[in-house]
């Protein structure tokens, strides 16, 4: 309290001092009391939300987030910031265990949003958790469609492989892993090149860095087709965005280059993590193949492909038509019902533990 009083005395502008004093007091009290104050900035409030979430105070975090979403909607209903708040809300609801509400919140992200793909992937994750594997696979068809190959991360491949394991579709697991290899071996090579080389000597990176300034900050549009050679979602990195707004100097360019290398390392680490998980899924699949060959059982169906006179049903082909996204329907046959009770319990336990 003494330090805050001294600061306000030293400040020449009394009103600024008063606001500063009240803001600091409010921020410190709100951190303990969990109450958001109207005149705090969105960034401060969002940091507060994340702080609450990390301490597992999800209800408090959601209360602040709801106010943020309303505030963001007043400015624009379709901004990236607003979508980030909605995504965070959905994730918090997932953390709370309210899967239905979480799924509905993800569903409110529009197709034009940059978070739409991630929202679909996380919806598929929820469907898998709820045991609706047909729905999970249908949602993943949109995420893993060929137009999004260069944008989508490694996680959907794991969700797809895991869902295939849960329904004992073993050849789908191998197919997913093959596709994963095709996509991420060159990607790993590219990230490795970014980490090991002098990034500023690379034409792609140096062109991008030299184009960044206050009037032309880092954004998905500015990165454009260079995105396939740069760390994924680097336009969302707060440090990079801050650096991109600064006037161009050699020091700034070097700082951006180093940050890109850090993001490349993080992406390598993310891919490595998924590779490990895919190995586990594949190992489980191989073991299950040996077991399944010796056991008979009937498979129960899940999901339906139904239409009426007003619906059109087309086969899914390798060519993706963009109007078909989110319009996939899947009918699956789940794992065979094993005759022996003991076998059923042990196999289901193994799959559920993944």
């Amino acid at each position: 309290m003494f330090a805050i009083k001294k600061m306000s005395v030293l400040t020449t502008n009394f009103s600024t001092a008063a606001i500063t004093f009240i803001s600091v007091l409010a921020l410190s009290s709100s951190l303990f009391a969990g109450q958001a104050i109207k005149f705090q900035s969105e960034t401060q409030l969002f940091d507060l939300v994340l702080a609450h979430a990390q301490k597992n105070r999800v209800v408090e975090a959601l209360a602040i987030l709801d106010k943020l979403i309303v505030r963001a909607a007043r400015v624009s209903s379709t901004s990236a910031k607003s979508d980030l708040f909605i995504m965070t809300k959905a994730r918090l609801l997932f953390q709370l265990g309210d899967l239905d509400k979480s799924e509905k919140t993800y569903a409110s992200i529009s197709k034009s949003s940059e978070y739409w793909l991630e929202a679909q992937e996380e919806r598929a994750h929820i469907s898998g958790r709820q045991g609706d594997f047909a729905k999970a696979l249908a949602q993943l068809q949109s995420v893993m469609a060929s137009p999004f190959e260069s944008v989508v991360g490694p996680e959907p491949y794991f969700v797809s492989a895991l869902t295939s394991l849960r329904i004992c579709d073993y050849s789908a697991i191998f197919k997913t892993n093959e596709n994963f290899k095709k996509r991420f071996v060159p990607r790993l090579q590219r990230m490795k090149t970014l980490v090991l080389s002098d990034v500023l000597q690379e034409r792609t990176v140096s062109e991008l860095i030299s184009s960044l300034n206050k009037n032309h900050p880092l954004s998905f549009e500015n990165i454009g087709p260079r995105a396939k050679d740069l760390p994924r979602n680097m336009h969302r990195d707060k440090d990079l965005r801050r650096l991109s707004m600064k006037p161009r100097t050699a020091l700034r360019d070097r700082a951006i280059a180093e940050r890109i290398q850090i993001l490349a390392k993080q992406e390598i680490s993310e891919i490595e993590n998924i590779v490990s998980k895919l190995h586990i899924v594949e190992a489980e699949a191989i073991q299950s193949i040996y077991l399944a060959e010796s056991e008979a059982g009937e498979r129960n169906a899940q999901g339906s492909i139904a239409g009426d006179g007003d619906t059109l049903i087309f086969p899914k082909t390798d060519e993706t038509w963009l109007d078909e996204l989110t319009h996939y329907a899947v009918r699956v046959e789940k794992c065979p019902n094993i005759k022996t009770q003991g076998d059923r319990v042990s196999n289901n336990k193994k799959r559920a533990s993944l």
Binding site: L137, A138, Q141, I167, C168, D169, Y170, S171, A172, I173, F174, N177, E178, F180, K181, F184, V185, L188, Q189, K192, V195, L196, I268, I271, E272, V275, L278, H279, E282, A285, I286, I289, A292, E293, R299, I305, A306, G307, G309, D310, T311, L312, I313, F314, P315, K316, W321, D323, E324, H327, Y328, A329, V330, R331, V332, E333, K334
Partner: protein, 234 residues
């Protein structure tokens, strides 16, 4: 200085080694051919389809159209073109009933001109000639019933998508010729493209039969009618 560069070199080598290990790890994914073959024998009967709503609702909607057509067959001495209108009531996406009206525009074929000119010359020279009689069709009116069993969608030069239906139709009506009226029936098929909620286009090919009346008596005429139409869905 030497120690610093040596440390950096060791670091880069270690990093390269770990990347090589990771690359080997990822390349191990995917199973071998034997495993994949065995997995396929256990494949479940999973299906993935695209399920979409019709973009154009065709339940109890009226379609008005203008059409242009060509007739192949019929009287061998006459080329006939049609201009006309259509009115269809779509009951649901599978069935519609409608009416067609065609105004026929006729001209002699080259063989028709030859026959007429030869007859005219012979007549002028006082020689015997064969009088060629043509019973020109003037207009037709038909009632039709259409069934749309097949649907699809088109990519219009990457500018947009349009759904379409292939249909079969049958109808009955009358042809008004110079000599009088004659019943006619028709059967055929076509494609209807639903460009937007209010614009349509159709290409129709149908067989039509009627009787005309010339000096030698009544005769059956078979023809194939090809029509292109543009319509408005109300």
């Amino acid at each position: 200085m030497k120690t610093k560069y040596f440390s950096i070199l060791i670091f880069v080598m270690l990093l390269t080694e770990s990347f090589a290990a990771m690359a080997a790890d990822i390349n191990d994914l995917g199973g071998n051919k034997d495993l994949i073959r065995r997995a396929r024998t256990l494949d479940p009967d999973n299906k993935i389809r695209v399920v979409q709503n019709r973009t154009v609702d065709r339940r109890w909607r009226v379609e008005l159209g203008l059409n242009y057509g060509l007739i192949a067959g019929g009287d061998p001495y006459v080329n006939t073109q049609n201009l006309g209108g259509s009115l269809d009531l779509h009951i649901n996406p599978m069935w519609s009933v409608g009416a067609r009206y065609y105004e026929h525009y006729n001209e002699l074929t080259s063989e028709g001109h030859r026959i007429y000119d030869a007859a005219k010359n012979n007549a002028e020279m006082g020689q015997p000639y064969q009088k060629t009689d043509i019973d020109y069709p003037l207009n037709s009116t038909l009632g039709v019933l259409s069934f749309y069993p097949v649907y699809g969608k088109l990519n219009f030069f990457d500018m947009g998508l349009a759904q379409f239906d292939l249909y079969v139709l049958g109808g009955y009506g009358q042809v008004h010729t110079e000599s009088g009226t004659s019943p006619t029936w028709t059967a055929g098929g076509g494609a209807g493209v639903w460009i937007s909620q209010h614009f349509t286009t159709r290409l129709e090919v149908r067989y039509q039969n009627y009787e005309d009346h010339i000096s030698s008596g009544r005769r059956d005429l078979d023809m194939v009618v090809t029509n292109l139409s543009f319509g408005i869905l109300l």
